[in-house]
């Protein structure tokens, strides 16, 4: 598998999920198990540039390059800083998933109208559950980067 720019040989049982392969075999523990049924978003990683829920993704069916939170470099820094400055996390457990999702959202492009952009952010982030912040800080952080107020 091509993971964070490197080819790794992994041994996965037919039913193994990508999340467990990443965590147990490659020791990439940034993606987190939360619900283990594709509902909370804590396990979000990129496959072929698109965010997917690695806890319900069969590892053997992954057909593109995988990028985890650990594989995102300076291109993620604006979001990292915005999350820290806007109160986008407290306990931090859901944060890697939130950041990967937000990164994909911004990469895909948001509407230029501010109101529509915020709606798109709220919709786009709605699959990432956060129990601490009440989401306002997360939306503010993503919007700040979307508006280009933070640059790497």
């Amino acid at each position: 598998m091509l993971i964070n720019g490197k080819v790794h040989e992994v041994e996965a049982k037919p039913g193994a999920m990508l999340l467990d392969v990443l965590r147990d075999q490659l020791r990439l523990t940034g993606a987190k198990p939360g619900c283990r049924r594709g509902e909370c978003g804590a396990c979000t990683v990129l496959v072929g540039g698109r965010p997917i829920l690695s806890c319900i993704q069969l590892a053997c069916l992954v057909d593109g390059p995988v990028v985890t939170i650990e594989g995102l470099g300076p291109e993620l820094d604006p979001l990292r800083e915005a999350f820290a400055d806007c109160g986008g996390f407290q306990c931090g457990y859901c944060t890697p998933g939130q950041l990967v999702q937000a990164f994909a959202l911004i990469q895909a492009g948001l509407p230029s109208d501010a109101g529509e952009a915020e709606q798109a952010v709220r919709r786009g982030m709605s699959g990432n559950v956060c129990r601490c912040t009440g989401y306002a800080g997360i939306v503010a952080a993503v919007m700040r980067v979307a508006r280009g107020e933070v640059t790497a």
């Binding site: 939360g34 985890t68 457990y93 129990r131």
Partner: protein, 553 residues
Amino acid sequence: MNVIGSRLRPLDWEAITHGRFLYTADLHRPDALHGVIIRSPHPHARVLQIDVGAALSVPGVRAVLTTEDFSAGIRYIHEGAADRPPLADGVVRFVGQEVAAVAAETEEAARAGAQAVSVRYERLPAVFDLDAAERARKGGLHPRKSGRTNVSAWLRRDWGDHRKGIAACTHSVEGLFKYPAQCHVCMEVSAVIAEWREDEARLHLWTATGAPYYVVKEVSHVMGLERGQVVCHEIGVGGSFGARTKVADYEAIAGALSRKAGRPVRLVLSRDEEFATTKSRHAFESTMRLHGGRGRLRAIEADLRVDNGAYNHSGVSVTSAALKGLGMLYEPDGALLSARLIDTAKRPGGQFRGYGTTQSSFALECLMDELAGASGEDPVAFRRANANPSGSTTLVGAHLGSSRLAECLDAAAAGIGHRLIKFPDEGVGVAAAVHVSGSFAEPGAERSDAALDLHVDGSVTLRFGGADAGTGQKTILAQIGFCRWTASARPSTWAHGALAAPTTPVMRRARQAKQPRRGCVRRAWRGASNRLARSSHAHVQPLADRSPSCPPT
């Protein structure tokens, strides 16, 4: 440079946003066995026999734990309301109660071992709702001192002069308010790694807790150890909301499994286990009556029924706090209150943010709206007029050095534009609540200690015995430490290991060392790394580098 009052990024922000911040299940421990808990399938039953022979012959199984591995009759302390054993000893009282545990080389082997443990039960009658529990005349879940079957505690409060208030009232409103149980749903599923080190005769724990003090106190107690023999290491805590402010039910099990197997044990709950078996917010049924007249709340009458679940845990103190909350916020002539903590054969209740006051405030505040409405008053103005002012002594007997409730209400009302609209399904409203601090719940509980290590390079490590569940204790204490010492050190060389939660437990930890203040600090410094504060152990980059909004001056 004034760090206090500045907007700082949380100390761990870089680790968190790079996915490097570690939580218990992230720790790489290939030497650890996998632990699995065997739980009761019955709500109430006698345990007649546990046969572990077949499980021990399952390949990969290294240890099977039952109540035999603990001292006979041992119970968690739980603030003196002790009634729960670490593993069922003779009786199970809710579906999901811990009966035995297996440690094995792989998770599959542990599950196969758990399947092979044979438990024989004799089912007993079980009650699930408050009415049935109170109706029962015999066969209660526990023998209780209240004199009533299934009533764990019966608290009565008669504060002030409620008769005078009732005699003077012109309006009365009443209602029955049901507040359901609630799961904390921390994003991180509960996990513990326990490592018994025979050469040290000490148990090391990595566990998602915000209160290492309580974990050490309870785990050492049920395992028959000295407190110095249990060490909580600092590790990320993926949410608490109350769930992780007392001992959990799996820490001692993992510890005893590790001691028995002679290997580290990793025990991670499933989300299903978390929902079904860990302690919830207590469900309440509150019958309440408010009496008022001429813009005043004159008297409160309430009868609370608290669903204890199968074990006390913090039930008695939650119930007590719920009552206390009713006597703190407003100033009626009096309050006549009672509360029954009722045993049901269900997953036990426990501490949850708000600690009982959430449930009783819900009833009180709904009725405050109705009482205001009954006399044609604005609900905000009515609360404001009845708020305890600074300098007053509440019904409970607490002297309020300061009280800003009126200002809070004004700010909230302004924030929603006074739109107190009530639609059938939604609306905008205002409610007030008070939370009684736990700082004075026990003698010495308001006390806290921290230690500063000043290094030859001018950097400083700040240690304390708590943990940060995301609410910023580490950053706050680093700010305080920085300001305290900044006059004598170069800001650019400051390092902060920030370690703790200014909660009750932390504070008493040092007290237990039975040393004067300086001694406590030394203890927390050296011994701490052994027995107290190893839960907190971190060196971080200089604070000045981490606070772009407040550069060194």
